[in-house]
């Protein structure tokens, strides 16, 4: 009896001491994950706001540059980088809270997440000693809040450029919409679109408006919640007026002739299962994150509400003309499971606070650098008035530079988090059949 009493007492005492310890641990995890700059922005010698890094002083800043940016700077192909202030890109509090509720409950079982409800699946800092750290980061990226629960990018101008001559070969006008079917935190319906019998996690819808050869082309890809399952894809060709099913494992084709593959969308638009992932360490690097409203913006494509797009600069005007800021990033190397892929490996830098992917380096099968992929992100708090309070690091500009072929594709666009502009009804084939957006 005494033994039992002692055991119960010990458990009780243990609980009293460990519960605050766990809460403390959860707070630490959340703070490290979402408020990494609470104690101060990262610093590096000489990297001060307003400093301009170019080929003449790139060596001095090599430690805070990814290797391709450094090389391109040295060659003079990448334009000078102007350092901006490091901002805390606040992530939506409901996403943070969902993460908190999930801590310690999520596992990867059979290549899929188990026990996951919403937020960041693995908010703990990655460890090099964890053999699965790469995959965990990949799932964090898959479930990032970069585009909110639903987002519209419209208008969306892609320019196909000859980097050597600066000539714009084509301009394609798109609209893209994204919708999270599940794991929603900020906008109704929360936590999921219902019913959702196919158990989709996320949908992307795109439509091309010009030029004539791609006019009215629509694309839709629906990702399943179970990562192991290949996505559904649909394509509507304007001249056929017919929705065709797409085989989605082929995502390494140049998308409508651009320098992007579908796989490149959003940094990496593929399944976690399609890559082998290796965590290469956490670093402090300069990344193209910035305040949109404080950038030098383009006067091209005037908008009725006065919104202006990010300008392009550098060789062939292939690079967003934006400031870069010091960020804590996780370096992640990915090699395709499918050995026939034209991609040999990808190196992705994930912003540790937001888990967006501002920089990706793409190498061919021979191991040679193929493309340098830059996605400029801004906080919703420095963008459209309608985005204020949405607390997401949204896509704001891009430049995909094909180093081997000296071509690039740039993107200038307007991103808006607004559920009414990406309604659920948009994400089915019938919507495409009737002409789409």
């Amino acid at each position: 009896m005494k033994r039992i009493t002692r055991s119960v007492l010990a458990m009780f005492v243990g609980t009293l001491f460990t519960a605050p310890a766990l809460a403390q641990s959860a707070d630490n995890v959340i703070n490290q994950a979402f408020y990494p700059y609470k104690a101060g922005a990262p610093t590096a010698a000489g990297v001060n706001v307003g400093v301009v890094i170019d080929k003449n002083n790139a060596d001095q800043f090599k430690a805070v540059l990814d290797p391709v940016t450094y090389d391109l700077l040295k060659k003079g192909e990448q334009p000078a980088i102007k350092v901006g202030p490091t901002d805390s890109f606040e992530v939506h509090p409901k996403y943070v809270e969902a993460t908190r509720q999930n801590i310690g409950k999520v596992k990867i079982v059979g290549g899929n997440l188990e026990g996951y409800s919403a937020g960041r699946p693995f908010p703990e800092q990655p460890s090099s000693s964890d053999p699965d750290a790469g995959r965990k980061l990949a799932f964090n990226f898959r479930h990032t809040f970069s585009a909110g629960d639903n987002v519209q990018i419209k208008p969306f101008y892609w320019k196909y450029r000859n980097a050597a001559t600066g000539k714009v070969d084509r301009t394609v006008e798109f609209q893209f919409n994204f919708l999270n079917f599940k794991h929603r935190v900020a906008e109704e319906p929360i936590p999921a679109v219902s019913p959702n019998p196919n158990d989709y996690f996320r949908g992307i819808y795109g439509k091309a408006f010009s030029p004539q050869d791609v006019q009215d082309t629509q694309l839709m890809i629906l990702n399943f919640d179970q990562d192991q399952k290949a996505s559904d894809g649909y394509l509507y060709l304007g001249f056929q007026r017919r929705v065709r099913r797409l085989e989605t494992s082929q995502t390494t084709d140049a998308f409508l002739g651009s320098d992007l593959m579908i796989q490149d969308f959003e940094g990496y638009f593929g399944r976690v299962a399609e890559m082998n992932w290796t965590f290469k360490g956490t670093k402090t690097l300069l990344m193209p994150l910035y305040r949109h409203n404080e950038q030098k913006l383009s006067d091209e494509y005037k908008q009725p509400d006065g919104y202006k797009f990010v300008a392009m600069t550098g060789k062939g005007e292939c690079f967003p003309d934006v400031t870069w800021q010091l960020r804590q990033v996780h370096e992640l190397e990915m090699t395709p499971v499918d050995k026939s892929s034209p991609v040999g490996r990808r190196v992705m830098y994930l912003d540790s606070q937001t888990f967006v992917a501002p920089r990706t380096l793409i190498y061919d099968r021979a191991g040679k650098l193929w493309k340098s992929w830059t996605i400029g992100h801004t906080s919703t708090e420095h963008h459209l008035p309608s985005n204020k309070g949405k607390f997401a690091a949204i896509y704001d500009s891009f430049g995909m530079f094909d180093v081997q072929n000296q071509r690039c594709t740039t993107g200038q666009f307007r991103t808006e988090i607004d559920g009414s502009k990406s309604p659920v009804r948009m994400f089915n084939p019938q919507f495409m059949r009737s002409g789409g957006a």
Binding site: Q212, R244, T252, A254, R425, N428, P429, Q430
Partner: protein
């Protein structure tokens, strides 16, 4: 070559427009107020082997759409307008082949052995009284025999070609003269409301029919009514589209198994233009109940389609134009001319064996209202003649599917002949017979052929009809992941379609038809040919099965339905993209299995600029070419004179014994590919988006 002043003006305007295009400022697609507007100018130039210029088509397209504010509970309101105007300069630039100078006098093959030249001029056939080389078979000089013969003043030997001439010689079969000039130049054989284009109608096809407003290609209004439903947490909606439009069903390319709501204009470029450009938009109301996810279905939609427009058949092309699919337009025009004016038919009347070898046939002059096509019976607008369909479409797991039903009119013509054809005058009327054969053709007791027009079993006298058809079908698509391929399947069954059938006294019969297409699409990297982009391989097999097919072996050959009981057409489409998709090589190949006919179309699209596209290519056909089938010369509609007794046929009974020829039914065996076997072309297409 003769170019009218008007045409010169049009041509000059066209050239000026192109001058502006080539040297003017580039204009982007843009907006005008709340309207989003696109404008396109296109030139399509084709040169055909042995013919020369076959198309000089200049097309102006304007497309506009605008959205409107919500109207009460109705959201997503928008209006879409698509206008198109075409000027085809071939009728001015190559009028000797296509236009007012086309055709000429003809000489029709005669295998009787009585004509040393082997052919006779139109109007110089046997029994017509105008060719003494036929001896007693000439009939009374200047008057002919019975009701044979016709007035050359009404049907002169000019402005004609021999039926089937571009594809084959008569080869001992039937043939006759076909007028080929526009119907305002030569009205012979023109079918009112069906194939009666004037020169300007052919030049400017969208302006040919003032009632149809073809220049207004599409004009429709969209609106949605969202509402809450107990079936879903999400809003459901009723979607409406009303106006002139194309409604596309099915999942396959090229073949129209389910995509049969709109008729098709094959006269524009046979089967080779995109269906979007050759479907004939109709005034249609569609309503869709978009249920979204329901139960196990990720997506579910019900669509009701009401085609309330006046019936319109496929445009098969008027004889004398470059694209006359199956050469049907020429057959119809020649037959209509035969009915209206009489005419000369090759190798028709048998030479009695006592005078020649069995099977030798004389080219024969028929009189008006004896054989041919009397009329086309286009259904009037009545509520019961409108067409209605329903589609149930959804996504179940990894499979997208549809179930479709449609009540419609066949857009292809059916020839009702013989016992269900027009009352015809017997060419033997007024002939006295030495014996009373007690045949229905004879006036009782006097041994004289009936002079009253009547329907004659097996007689090749027809009206054109468009029967009612019921269709039930479905489609599905899914991914075959292990081979990275998408499969598309489409199938339909119809009831009510009609087919030529020489076994029937009416020379046609109904058959249920099963059609299906299996398509496989695969994107494949071929790195040594294209490192950046995949090749699209799209393979399709189209099959057709006639469930009520009738075919028998006669004494001389097969009789019954010329259409194959089972046939398949395979297509292979290959495309890739270079230079950031500015250079797009394409290759299409098709094979008609039973016809032994092939078509190949290699082409290259090149985007010269953001708005300026150039396409060059060739269209080549090869294979077995023309095919033969029982032509009903042996049907013996007027026994005993028309009997093929010397070949073993019955003297006094009607019905075929299997005599064959290329015309008229071989076309159903050779199909569209085999029928255009001699129409090899090269083409260049320029397309410019000016707004």
């Amino acid at each position: 070559m003769r170019i009218s002043g008007k045409a010169l003006g049009s041509l000059a305007m066209g050239l000026c427009a192109w001058g502006l295009v080539l040297h003017g400022k580039t204009v982007q697609a843009g907006e005008l107020g709340a309207w989003r507007i696109n404008g396109f100018l296109e030139n399509d130039t084709r040169v055909r082997k042995d013919v020369g210029l076959s198309k000089e088509r200049n097309t102006l397209r304007l497309e506009a759409d605008r959205e409107f504010d919500d109207l009460g509970a109705f959201t997503g309101n928008s209006l879409t307008l698509k206008l198109r105007g075409t000027y085809d300069g071939v009728y001015d630039l190559n009028s000797k082949e296509y236009g007012r100078d086309a055709g000429g006098p003809i000489c029709l093959e005669d295998t009787s052995g009585l004509i040393p030249a082997g052919c006779v001029a139109h109007g110089r056939g046997a029994f017509g009284g105008n060719n003494l080389q036929y001896g007693v078979f000439n009939g009374v000089p200047g008057a002919g025999l019975g009701q044979f013969g016709f007035n050359l003043a009404n049907n002169p030997n000019d402005g004609m070609i021999v039926l089937g001439e571009p594809l084959h010689r008569p080869g001992g079969g039937v043939a006759f003269g076909v007028p080929v000039r526009p119907c305002d130049v030569d009205s012979r054989g023109c079918l009112s409301g069906y194939m009666d284009g004037t020169e300007n109608d052919l030049r400017f096809p969208e302006f040919a029919d003032g009632d149809r407003l073809d220049w207004l290609r599409e004009a429709y209004f969209d609106s949605s009514l969202p509402f809450s439903s107990p079936l879903s947490d999400e809003e459901q909606e009723l979607f409406f589209r009303v106006g002139k439009q194309q409604v596309i069903w099915g999942r396959t390319d090229l073949f129209r198994v389910l995509d049969v709501i709109n008729p098709v204009d094959y006269s524009r470029n046979n089967i080779y233009d995109e269906l979007q450009d050759i479907r004939i938009p109709m005034w249609i109301a569609t309503a869709e109940y978009r249920m979204g996810p329901v139960g196990a279905l990720q997506d579910l939609n019900w669509q009701v389609v009401w085609n309330f427009d006046k019936f319109r058949p496929n445009s098969l092309g008027q004889c004398g134009t470059a694209n006359v699919i199956l050469d049907a337009g020429c057959f119809f025009r020649g037959m209509k001319n035969l009915w209206d004016n009489g005419g000369t038919v090759s190798n028709f009347a048998l030479v009695p064996p006592i005078l020649g070898q069995p099977g030798m046939a004389m080219t024969t002059d028929f009189g008006p209202n004896q054989v041919g096509i009397r009329d086309v019976q286009l259904p009037n607008w009545t509520l019961s003649n409108t067409q209605i369909g329903m589609k149930f479409e959804g996504v179940l797991g990894d499979v997208s599917f549809s179930l479709n039903g449609l009540l419609y009119r066949s857009q292809l013509p059916s020839l009702h002949g013989g016992s269900k054809g027009p009352p015809a005058i017997s060419p033997f009327a007024n002939l006295l017979l030495p014996v009373d054969l007690q045949l229905p053709e004879l006036l009782p007791g006097v041994g004289q052929y009936n002079t009253e027009p009547r329907q004659v079993p097996y007689l090749i006298a027809f009206d054109i009809a468009f029967p009612r058809v019921k269709l039930l079908g479905g489609s599905l698509d899914f991914t075959i992941a292990p081979i990275k391929t998408v499969a598309r399947i489409e199938a339909a069954m119809t009831w009510g379609e009609e087919f030529p059938n020489t076994l029937r006294p009416s020379l046609y019969s109904e058959s249920r038809v099963a059609r299906y297409v299996v398509g496989l699409d695969r994107l494949t990297f071929i790195p040594f040919l294209n490192a950046d982009r995949t090749f699209l391989f799209s393979l399709q097999i189209f099959g057709q099965h006639l469930l009520d097919h009738e075919l028998e072996q006669g004494l001389l050959g097969q009789v019954g339905m010329p259409d194959w009981k089972d046939n398949w057409i395979g297509t292979l489409y290959v495309q890739t993209w270079y230079l950031q998709d500015r250079l797009q090589p394409k290759f299409v190949m098709a094979r008609d299995w039973k016809a032994g006919a092939y078509a190949m179309q290699p082409s290259v699209d090149y985007l010269l600029s953001q708005n300026f596209k150039l396409s060059i290519g060739a269209n080549v056909k090869f294979g077995d070419g023309a095919q033969k089938f029982n032509d009903c010369r042996d049907c013996n509609p007027y026994p005993p004179f028309t009997a093929y007794a010397s070949s073993g046929g019955p003297l006094l009974e009607a019905g075929p014994i299997g005599l064959t020829g290329y015309e008229p039914l071989g076309r159903f065996r050779q199909g569209p590919l085999g029928s255009s076997d001699k129409e090899d072309e090269v083409f260049i297409n320029l397309s410019y988006q000016f707004f």
